[in-house]
Symmetry: D4
Subunit: 152 residues, 8 copies
């Protein structure tokens, strides 16, 4: 059963999101990935977020560009931790998405990571760090990865 739900705002976000999925696989974290637009499919996004806990999801990752409302809209419908990945898909090259994701109002947090592929990868590592609090296997896998990194 997937622990992490990865949502991308558009089909064209798939290459960036592949970076997230590769890291989740490497750390053996079960996930599911879907394409859902906050603005074009608000009802589906609502249902996805609301049913996430009962389907066993514990962390949501959402990648979006431009107005990038997806992570915040997911967060508005759930209390699960939501990680937002700003993508550089609009003409403003990700500054818009970074602001839209980082500047959430008090009460409904989103964990913003870096713009683009860096953030796509770190979203998975951040999910690992969060799930490590509860799942020793994930904790071991993530620590092993970090030790490998430290070797350089």
């Amino acid at each position: 059963m997937p622990l992490v739900g990865v949502v991308m705002g558009s089909k064209s976000d798939e290459p960036a999101v592949q970076e997230t999925l590769k890291v989740l696989e490497r750390l053996d974290i079960p996930y599911e990935a879907v394409v859902l637009s906050a603005h074009r499919q608000p009802a589906k996004v609502m249902e996805y977020a609301r049913s996430a806990p009962e389907r066993g999801l514990e962390v949501l990752i959402a990648a979006a560009g431009g107005a990038a409302a997806l992570p915040g809209v997911l967060a508005s419908w759930t209390t699960l931790p939501v990680i937002g990945v700003p993508l550089a898909t609009s003409e403003l090259k990700g500054v818009d998405a970074l602001y839209a994701i980082a500047q959430m109002p008090p009460g409904v947090p989103v964990a913003c990571v870096a713009v683009g592929p860096w953030g796509a990868r770190n979203a998975a590592y951040l999910a690992a760090a969060i799930l490590s609090l509860k799942y020793p296997d994930i904790a071991d896998a993530y620590r092993a990865y970090r030790e490998e990194l430290a070797q350089g």
Copy 2:
């Protein structure tokens, strides 16, 4: 019966939104004003947008700061024209809200106006311009105002 629904994301947005209301009153455009947060009250925002047409609303105006998802979330639930007013209420002073409101993805448009009080006033004038296509009285009032302006 109100023609324009004015939504503000937070009580603290009220002073800015007063600028909108004053213009609507001046042009004799019936309106209603509510406080609804896209992130904290997503269900109420959904209901508001969905029921807007049957309650006679023809234009929505939404003012919000920071991640400023409100205009876009309203637009995701309705096909009425939505005008978004970016407010300078976060530490980034409105650039965040401007990007979040202007950079809507294709298919779900929002009409973005200027940051802060300038935009708050222009949201009402833009609503007037839109409603003028259908309501000759509003058209007369708006044209009279513009002629007055032209006198300086």
Copy 3:
């Protein structure tokens, strides 16, 4: 008879503006498209805007890059709703055009949409949302499109 007048600031804006025209065609909204520069041809722009209502136009869409005065100058000569599309044609890649179009002073509103092709498409959808208030056929076409989007 065209309902929407689409004005581009320069021949080189044509590829972006094609995105607008394709959407208008898809929704069966009659339009006309012209090339007129606010700074190089101010008299022609003035005449275009002033004669727009008597020629049956109900919404103007103007696309421009750089100082991007075109939407605002059109708006200065008419009370029709004007939608502005900021283009990324200058070295500042559209931030300049976004600010120039969004930051209109009180009294003379422009409806700003996203920079570049996203905005070019949304200008047409926003025109559809506006015209829907008056034309049931356009309302039907726009709602059908939005429902299609919602299916994903």
Copy 4:
């Protein structure tokens, strides 16, 4: 007879424009100052620019904030040199006006100076530098001022 026409976009721009006028007075350059909005009073702006040469004006200075179309609109109606002063009167604090004034398209130049009071003063010094090519008295006054500055 005034040589320099100083135009401000709004009454509220007067304090900034006083800086311009003080420098013109100090250098004994005859001027006139008017309040004219490019967006609210396009016909008056057109007439002002068109009649400027026959009234003896040789340089125009225009100060405006926000979308700041005024200098460019004046330049669109005349071939006199136009100096634009971006003011920090909108919520974006002058970056918008700077971009709107600096990023003029090819063919219709505006001489942009610094945002706010620095620029307001330099607009007058730039006018002096321009008029110095033709008027030895202005050249002497401007050179004397610069020598004074060099003393510190």
Copy 5:
């Protein structure tokens, strides 16, 4: 025993960090708060991060302005989830801190929240969302708070 370690980069960050502490108290999440500078006290920061797990900490929150290296440096020494709060304490008013915290390189994630007091509060809510995965009491408290918010 504290579950959350709140680190501020300087004494002067205390007012902002009080917003974090108030939320943690409201949700009954035990915490500790310390002042430690990443640049001035690197050894103390290293020791703090390294000893965090054995002292029972499960989430770190770090608030800093300017170059804002604190969250990233903490993250470099631990695999616990680190939440970074960018503060507007430098002359660049928080854009610098936002970029420095959000733009972490792949492998060492930080969860960035909004600049200033909004983010300070959301850091605590995000910690609550994370800890909710493991602690039902925190989950209940956080859900209750969100339901209260939804009432408006």
Copy 6:
């Protein structure tokens, strides 16, 4: 004898500056073009600026990228009008040069034009507008060009 001195900060600025030269030629304005770096060759820049009037130059145009001190340094050594063209040659793509050229301190003005090729062309047109005050032939050529533009 040249009336306009065109200075570029580096050999690599030549393609941009060609745009300036083509316009000057088209308007039959005699010019000279040199490569001089404000930072690498301060003595040569000083000599160039100081000797400009006695060599008959009446307007200086300087193009530079990055810190873009060239127009300001020329202006510091002369009272001739100096037009600055910000180039997008550094990694910051011209925003740096725009700020460095526009934000001159009071007393030593530079006339800033658009970033890159737009500005390179407009620098020549602005020189034409300035020289038109004194040289009827240039005035005629510039007015003829503007009328041609107005035809579209």
Copy 7:
């Protein structure tokens, strides 16, 4: 005999520069402080930089706002290390000065520090770090200060 020459671009920069002087005094580094404008007093700046080595100066610190050419102009006239402090004195609040000082072209380096008072203090500490390579007393004083900082 002073080792460090501190130059400020304008009298109004004195409060910021006091921060530099206080640190130099605290570390017992002899200095001199002068007011010299790169744009208004280019000859004096040239003489100051050229005569610096023979007067025993080994490091220059220059603080300036806006176009902020001062550090770069000093560097153009000397091979001594030049530290530049961007000040937030213009309407653009120091971003302009930061870009103008940081973005020096290859061959003529300036060591840029933070905008405003943070940078004003760090300019002195950076001078101390540089002079420490040669002067054991300064090295001792700087190391002692850093150890004190580490205590917190």
Copy 8:
């Protein structure tokens, strides 16, 4: 024995850093170059900085993109002068790295140079200017280079 330690945050920074190394070689300044990540290898970075003086290093140069903590983290562990080169390797194209490196807090200075290859080269020239205070050969080589530049 190397005098300058050049540290890059990632293998992918090598092309930019080659620009630094070429200048150091040209000026005959002995150096060493290593790849060390501040976030992935904090212990190695600490050891590198701490052991730098005993290994004879007198200046450190650190190049990094994105959050770009490397120069500041090195500076936190040593009192040697540290020069930071912001690289445009993230999606924000170096503005993030520029802010992260320039905006160091008081007490722990970093000498920031330009973003990308310009800065990579100037880091070496700045190191030369610093080492010139102590090593006459380096002073001669650097002065000769600057004289060559002045010839153009």
